[in-house]
């Protein structure tokens, strides 16, 4: 499994297929939101909404690319020949996607703070990081599952977004509700712990579910 993760990260480091594209996409979307909303800065609920919609669409970009090398260059066959448990591919892919998301957010969230965010919530950084990590986990799990579903089809670029977006609506609800009190103009308020619990539960349920059904997507 470590080998699988290492392989994907090395491929990404050498080719730079996913992360730069996701990052550029995020920054362009922030600029787009500036003009579309006609605002110099956003705060509170609006800021949380802009941030999460951008990050999720960027994630969809990465999800679409996640299994392409496996499909097009025979990675699936190689993996199926290897004497390892099939779910290890799922765990590895989810870990890779999680790393991609964290890497993108390391740059995209500061860019958001500079470009669009009105208040500078230094005090709220730990809470923000917690929400981001929990949501990333959910996106990574769901994204791996949807990516594996989409790679079976001929219309990957279409199927992945239309499947991923409805499945991620509960994540957006929880993440945006948890983030908006942190980004208020009047200073950050306490983080609503309830939404962290929802995020955690969502991660757990879909993690287990994906773990159970992923095997069937590989059989050939």
């Amino acid at each position: 499994m470590g080998a699988l993760v290492g392989k994907d990260l090395r491929v990404e480091l050498r080719t730079g297929e996913a992360i730069p594209a996701m990052l550029l996409f995020s920054v362009s979307t922030f600029v787009l939101f500036h003009f579309a909303l006609d605002r110099r800065s956003v705060e509170g609920e609006l800021a949380a909404g802009v941030l999460w919609v951008t990050l999720l669409f960027a994630a969809v970009l990465g999800i679409t690319r996640l299994f392409v090398a496996e499909r097009e260059q025979g990675g699936f066959d190689g993996f199926l020949l290897a004497p390892v448990d099939r779910t290890s591919l799922f765990v590895a892919k989810a870990a890779v996607l999680f790393c991609f998301l964290v890497a993108v957010e390391l740059a995209a969230v500061p860019a958001f703070a500079i470009l669009l965010l009105g208040p500078t919530p230094w005090d709220a950084v730990p809470e923000l990081v917690a929400v981001l990590l929990l949501a990333d986990l959910g996106v990574a799990v769901l994204g791996t599952l949807v990516g594996a579903l989409g790679i079976q089809t001929r219309a990957r670029e279409v199927i992945v977004p239309i499947l991923a977006l409805p499945l991620m609506i509960p994540l957006v609800i929880a993440a945006a509700r948890a983030t908006s009190p942190l980004l208020l103009e009047a200073g950050a308020e306490a983080l609503p712990g309830r939404w962290l619990v929802v995020l955690g539960l969502y991660d757990l349920v879909f993690g287990l579910l994906a773990f159970a059904v992923f095997d069937f997507l590989l059989e050939d």
């Binding site: 001929r154 199927i159 239309i162 499945l167 509960p170 609800i173 349920v205 579910l209 059904v213 069937f216």
Partner: protein
């Protein structure tokens, strides 16, 4: 294989649906503050419940398909989701009409049940495109089964999340279908619900039977074509399962 009990089921659904409508119009009283329009409730809610039940049933057939690989289970899963999607459109349209009539807007974001239903519907609307974009029948069935399981588990979770998002920000003032229905309304509702459930099963059985009949027809045609040394008939790409 699927046609057993089709005639009694058809008769039962006709009788129950007619009976339910008769009760809606002639037995159940008009609602005190909404008047006549409240009667759409007896159509809207059973439609939505039948559709959600069908979605979950599709997931259960999906599990069974993955477990024993019987293609009939895949066909059942497909048909359950297909009919549920049709009922789901009905539920959304009637819900929208009801919202317009009683709250003045075609769409009300404060009603968590309606919003959750829309999200679930949007997700299941991807089922047919997903199937259609996979040619290999074996892989199509397997992928569709995985989708139906994930989506089936998503249904209750999504309802929970959307309900939480609303009920804590503002109280649910729009709830009218609370448990305090008077007896004659409740009876009418239960008969409508039963009628819709039986109708759902009947429709599923009809579609299953028709799909099976066209599969047999295709197999016979292919045999004839082979006898005549004709090229075999192409089945064409389809979202529905093509053979058992």
């Amino acid at each position: 294989m699927f046609a057993r009990g089709l005639k009694p089921l058809s008769i039962a659904s006709v009788v129950l649906i007619i009976g339910a409508f008769a009760m809606v119009f002639f037995y159940a009283p008009n609602d005190a503050d909404q008047g006549f329009i409240q009667k759409i409730f007896y159509l809207h809610v059973p439609l939505a419940i039948a559709a959600l039940g069908g979605f979950v049933a599709g997931g259960v057939w999906g599990v069974r398909y993955l477990r024993d690989g019987d293609r009939a289970h895949d066909l059942r899963s497909y048909v359950a989701i297909h009919i549920s999607l049709i009922l789901g459109i009905g539920a959304l349209v009637t819900g929208s009409i009801w919202a317009k009539a009683s709250w003045g807007h075609w769409w009300v974001w404060e009603e968590p049940t309606l919003v959750s239903f829309l999200i679930v519907f949007l997700l299941y609307a991807c089922y047919q495109p997903l199937r259609f974009s996979i040619e290999d029948p074996e892989r199509q069935a397997r992928t569709a089964a995985v989708f139906s399981i994930v989506a089936g588990a998503f249904v209750p979770l999504n309802f929970l999340a959307v309900r939480m998002a609303e009920s804590f920000t503002h109280p649910r003032v729009l709830s009218q279908t609370g448990g305090s229905m008077p007896g004659d309304m409740r009876l009418t509702f239960l008969v409508s619900l039963l009628g819709m459930a039986v109708l759902f099963v009947t429709l599923c059985k009809y579609e299953l039977t028709s799909k099976q009949a066209s599969m047999q027809l295709r197999a016979l045609k292919r045999r004839l074509a082979a006898d005549d040394d004709e090229a075999w008939l192409p089945t064409g790409r389809s979202a529905a399962p093509q053979q058992l």
